[in-house]
């Protein structure tokens, strides 16, 4: 069973979703919870069985699908993808568990289970076409979630979300096909396996074009400035569960793909584009923080702050050294936990008052103390308070980039601190002071459903903030081999100096084929 645990993890939710059509609608939620708990347990078992000393891929499975064209069902995970997969199954579980009374509950549960299949699939895929399949497929359930359960502008938001991402990924698809063609030129066979592509050394100009093609696909997904305009709409209109999954897991596909594709495949291009991307990242951090400050809708504040922190992840990724990339992967987890929790919290207040306007609230701390406490902790985590989860990731990301450029790091660090202002000010507006609005006087505090969702997230945020080692070690291990491969593969002098040479020879993977 261990040999096929990843396939189990990917297709179990899909199978369960199809069987879910038979389940009566009154029991749909219970069914969904049961399935997602099983899935979560399997993903935990994956962690248990995961060998933290191995830096390469584990649990690999390979079935050829189109051998003449080199397409294989190839899956496997390393330390980078392991925790994102666990997070995806965790969020699906608590997401379904915390669902309130929504219309068409059965459809929602089935859609979420399908979405889970695509999420796990993206992070486990090691074949570009399999990756692309899950990547595109993940749009469809999300389209439905936003479009069917969203706010008044839901159709516009969902279509915009779909088309924006779809367009970007089609450009990426052309890049993938070109990459496969180059591989075919170099070796004489077709292959879409990412691991095979790692072995290919490309001339710099090819690298630049291919990097750009992949970049468009990934940057729209992250979303990086200036491609971010779909996200506030999607968040603004999506139901709580949609926003949570979108922020916690779906956006991570973009940043994850940078580490999985762009860096090891095009190291010279990554060095070439390092500073432009770092500048975009800083613009993301500062600009979206300022936009967030101007928002009157709490959900938009959280949405823009979420984009802002994605900027730090990008910055860490493009530090191109072990500290930076490890930090950015860790921050992906942290960002997922924290922004997922924040969207849950906004959903809680929206359920009670059916408004998300900040001006409607004030003094909530005295009415809903438990809610205010958790909101406070999560907000602190979001701004990067030490001993909370995001601090570790942000610190490592910045530390990584410090090795590349002091000035950029300084700017980014300042931006993060400035960014804290808007969070604190919106927290102040909503929670402190007198209760000014009569409607807020008798709001009930968190109920058990919401506690089930929020308390585990809080515990994780604190636990990993204090003791990040169990997660950091496997990530670090796998990142090392990525960095090593990049150094080995790079061809320009600048790339050799920018990407550090690591001492640990045991992790070495030799690139073999070369495109002339």
């Amino acid at each position: 069973m261990l040999d096929h645990i990843l396939s189990l993890l990917i297709f179990f939710p899909a199978l369960a979703a199809m069987m879910g059509f038979v389940v009566h609608k009154d029991s749909a939620k219970a069914y969904g919870i049961a399935v997602s708990i099983i899935e979560f347990v399997i993903s935990l078992y994956l962690w248990f069985a995961f060998d933290t000393n191995v830096s390469g891929m584990q649990f690999m499975e390979s079935i050829s699908i189109v051998p003449t064209f080199g397409i294989n069902y190839l899956v496997g995970i390393d330390g980078i993808s392991l925790f994102i997969i666990i997070m995806a199954s965790f969020f699906t579980m608590i997401g379904i568990a915390s669902l309130g009374d929504v219309k068409k509950m059965k459809n929602l549960v089935i859609t979420l289970l399908f979405l889970q299949m695509t999420m796990v699939g993206v992070f486990a895929a090691l074949d570009a076409i399999v990756f692309y399949t899950f990547w595109e497929l993940s749009l469809v359930p999300m389209l439905y979630i936003i479009g069917a359960w969203g706010g008044p502008l839901r159709i516009y938001a969902s279509v915009k979300f779909f088309l924006y991402t779809f367009t970007g990924s089609l450009v990426m698809l052309v890049g993938m096909l070109f990459m496969a063609f180059l591989y075919n030129q170099a070796t004489g066979v077709w292959s879409f396996s990412i691991l095979e592509w790692y072995r290919l050394i490309l001339p710099e100009n090819y690298q630049l074009w291919l990097f750009a093609a992949f970049f468009i696909g990934f940057a729209i997904k992250v979303p990086m400035f200036p491609f971010h305009t779909w996200l506030p709409y999607a968040h603004g209109q999506a139901p709580t569960i949609g926003s949570v999954i979108l922020a916690a897991v779906l956006l991570k596909m973009g940043t994850y793909a940078f580490i999985r594709f762009s860096l090891p495949m095009f190291p010279d291009a990554a060095v070439f584009f390092m500073f432009p991307i770092a500048i975009i990242a800083i613009i993301m951090i500062i600009y979206t923080a300022m936009v967030a400050y101007a928002q009157e809708d709490i959900k938009q504040v959280v949405a823009y702050s979420s984009i802002s922190h994605m900027g730090v992840i990008i910055l860490g990724t493009f530090a191109l050294n072990v500290e930076g990339i490890t930090g950015s992967v860790f921050l992906m987890i942290g960002h997922g936990i924290v922004s997922g929790a924040l969207f849950f919290l906004v959903g809680v207040i929206y359920d009670r008052r059916h408004t998300k306007m900040m001006s409607e609230f004030g003094g909530l701390a005295s009415v809903m103390p438990r809610y205010a406490t958790i909101f406070g902790i999560m907000m602190m985590a979001s701004v990067g308070l030490p001993l909370l989860i995001n601090f570790v990731g942000e610190f490592l990301s910045l530390l990584g980039f410090y090795n590349q450029s002091h000035i950029v790091t300084l700017l980014a660090g300042t931006a993060i601190i400035v960014g804290a202002i808007y969070m604190l000010s919106s927290f102040k507006k909503a929670f402190f002071g007198e209760v000014t609005n009569e409607k807020n006087r008798n709001l009930p505090d968190l109920n058990s459903k919401e506690i089930i969702a929020l308390v585990p997230l809080t515990i994780i945020a604190v636990w990993l903030g204090v003791y990040p080692k169990p997660i950091l070690d496997p990530i670090n291990n796998s990142v090392k081999s990525v960095v090593m491969l990049m150094h080995e593969k790079s061809i320009t002098e600048e790339a050799k100096t920018r990407i550090p040479l690591l001492e640990d020879k045991t992790l070495m993977q030799k690139p073999q084929a070369e495109v002339k």
């Binding site: 497929l137 479009g147 159709i155 279509v159 052309v174």
Partner: protein, 502 residues
């Protein structure tokens, strides 16, 4: 005084005519049967046609086994050319017809299917298309084309609505013009080379190194215009949306597949040597036509209010996409054309069948046309299964993996990339994104809107009979599980295309 011509029956290789003769015999058989036993139920004619087409298919299988061992077969004064291209195209033609004809078995009565002539004409049409693809003789191509087209005009008109007559007349007029163009283009080629066989023409032109280039270009323009009408390339597409709208949905689906594959094969035979000749001008013209066909048709499709018209424009766009294969001209591209079209057959026939199954006799109040978008609003609440299946077909047409058309799409784009047409590949990819919008529009209507017009929920499966449901189920399974078939298909197609020298 004519001298005797001595030809041994052996050298005629009459057997190469068998695949075409089967539907012709079938059609005559149906007509004769009608003389003796009138007013039979349509189900008998459907099954008879189906039997003849299966026989036809069987003979093709036999020929393809023969092709694997002996290579290309010539016959009948070298007029018949049974190469891999001919066989593949005939497989698509006959296969799509087998999938199409059971759609006549609606539970509601429709005018056209009560005539046995419908089925006879249908079989004649198939024979015409088979002739068209199984030869490189321009005259025989012309005869095949006209036989098939004349039958098709009548089949459209038989639908017996005012719009169907309009469609048939429009198609007929345009088709007549195209036929004239074809004859004129072929005449110039004959005048220049003294031959009506494409490989002879190619040999002559290559020998004198395209000395009469201006005349050749005139001929090419006429032929391109004529074949452009048949495969509906922009700017020769104008008939298509109106004709699709006027024809019954099933017939429209059929028209979007079968006549076009026949056209593509002729285009491929005709333009292959011209493209390879290094005449830059032709490359540019084809490039422009391909890009405009894809893009313009997509943009027109965006603004349609009727699903059938949207699908009409979408199939024009798909034709442009596939036409790129002729421009690229590599073995991979030509194989991709067939792969794409086979996968497209399943998906598109499925989509049109979903329209066909919901065709009502009278429009509901507020409904502007037979298949207006608002008819499908909120379908997920009324008929969840129909909505889901329709959505599947739309996702496949949009090229979302892992559904059928995605595999055709990546193989085609990969062929473009491999041949160095990177910009073309990007245009093809971005066109899929534009197309995504209008396919999504139907999904949005079905899944995210509330029902808009007061319509009886039975309408959505109104014509549903076991036969229709079977075909739709077949198309849906083909669409979802296409991935299993992709590898054998690629191997099979590539071997055939490669061994025919394309």
């Amino acid at each position: 005084m004519l001298s005797h011509v001595n030809i041994s029956l052996q050298s005629l290789n009459i057997s190469t005519l068998v695949p075409m003769l089967i539907p012709i015999v079938g059609a005559l058989f149906i007509l004769v049967l009608d003389l003796f036993k009138k007013d039979q139920n349509k189900s008998m004619y459907v099954m008879l046609s189906l039997l003849f087409m299966m026989l036809d298919f069987g003979s093709l299988v036999d020929f393809s086994l023969n092709f694997n061992t002996n290579g290309t077969a010539l016959g009948y004064f070298n007029m018949m050319l049974i190469d891999g291209l001919a066989l593949l195209a005939q497989f698509v033609i006959v296969g799509a017809s087998i999938l199409f004809i059971p759609l006549a078995l609606t539970s509601k009565r429709f005018h056209e299917f009560s005539y046995p002539e419908f089925f006879a004409l249908f079989l004649f049409m198939i024979a015409g298309f088979q002739f068209m693809v199984a030869t490189d003789n321009l005259i025989l191509i012309f005869i095949g084309l006209e036989t098939a087209s004349l039958a098709l005009y009548t089949l459209i008109a038989l639908h017996n609505r005012s719009k169907s007559f309009e469609a048939a007349v429009k198609y007929f007029t345009m088709g007549a013009l195209a036929a004239g163009f074809f004859a004129f283009g072929a005449m110039i080629l004959y005048a220049l080379s003294g031959s009506v066989e494409i490989h002879q023409i190619a040999a002559v032109f290559n020998a004198d190194e395209f000395a009469n280039l201006p005349f050749i270009l005139v001929a090419v323009v006429f032929l391109l215009a004529s074949l452009g009408f048949k495969v509906s390339l922009v700017p020769f597409h104008t008939w298509a949306p109106d004709v699709y709208e006027g024809a019954s949905a099933s017939m429209a689906g059929y028209m979007s597949i079968v006549p076009k594959i026949a056209g593509f094969v002729v285009v491929m035979r005709l333009f292959e040597f011209l493209i390879q000749s290094g005449v830059v001008w032709l490359n540019v013209v084809l490039y422009v036509i391909v890009v405009i066909t894809m893009t313009a048709a997509n943009i027109w499709a965006l603004v349609q209010n009727d699903v059938k018209r949207m699908l009409a424009y979408s199939s024009i766009s798909h034709a442009g996409f596939v036409m790129a294969a002729v421009l690229i001209g590599t073995t991979q591209a030509n194989s991709a054309l067939f792969l794409y079209w086979i996968l497209f057959t399943f998906t598109n026939l499925g989509a049109f069948s979903m329209l066909w199954i919901s065709r009502q006799k009278n429009l509901a109040p507020g409904q502007s046309s037979d298949h207006s978008y608002n008819k499908f609003a909120g379908l997920i609440k009324i008929a969840p299964l129909s909505a889901t299946i329709m959505a599947l077909f739309m996702l496949s047409l949009a090229g979302i993996p892992p559904f059928a058309l995605f595999w055709g799409k990546i193989y085609m784009i990969s062929a473009a990339v491999s041949a160095g047409y990177i910009v073309l590949a990007l245009i093809m990819a971005l066109n899929s994104a534009i197309a995504g919008y209008y396919y999504l529009k139907l999904i949005v209507y079905m899944f995210m809107k509330e029902p808009e017009i007061d319509i009886d929920s039975k309408v959505y499966t109104m014509n549903g009979s076991i036969a229709l449901r079977t075909i739709i189920g077949f198309a849906a399974v083909g669409t979802v599980f296409a991935i299993i078939a992709v590898n054998p298909l690629i191997e099979f197609i590539t071997a055939f295309v490669y061994n025919s020298g394309y």
